[in-house]
Assembly symmetry: C2
Homo-oligomer: 99 residues x 2
């Protein structure tokens, strides 16, 4: 299994931003086989952390080059994010605990 | 580079919890060569997401079996966490953007 870690410092996040996030998540699950998607915020909102999970590296490449997603990435760089880092990772081991 | 994704649903987090988190972070950096450590919260605190970064898989194994850390893991399962998942991942590709 693969994952994408997306860490971003917010820029100007308008109402179009919220709509786009919802649409991107929907697209990732419905069209590209995304397995899980979690979003969290560091401290007082200084950094957003999103982790999405994928069956393989090919699914991530297809998702990255999707036309709607490409447009969203461009708007993200122009407006919504001051900076970000994307890390494509392979899951090597996993441990679970349930009380 | 490797990373550890730690996702947890909080249990009973007392003052010992806060002290232990600070100490574990310090130990990871000073004794085991941890490169970066970020903590974020999903929604209204339903889930904590911590990502730590490491030079290689060996550093993570050494960190996992540290005596103080082993004790912290035990207390975590007994009290501080209802459930958690630990994912050891290898970073395959990385993209950065700065406006």
């Amino acid at each position: 299994m693969y994952a994408v870690i997306f860490r971003a410092k917010p820029g100007i996040q308008d109402s179009e931003y919220g709509r786009t996030v919802t649409r991107m998540r929907e697209l990732a699950f419905e069209k590209y086989g995304c397995l899980d998607f979690i979003s969290a915020t560091e401290g007082e909102g200084e950094q957003e952390v999103t982790i999405s999970y994928w069956p393989n590296a090919q699914a991530i490449s297809a998702w990255k080059s999707d036309a709607e997603h490409t447009l969203a990435q461009e708007t993200g760089r122009a407006k919504w994010y001051d900076s970000y880092i994307v890390q494509v990772v392979e899951i090597k081991r996993e441990y679970k605990f349930n009380s």
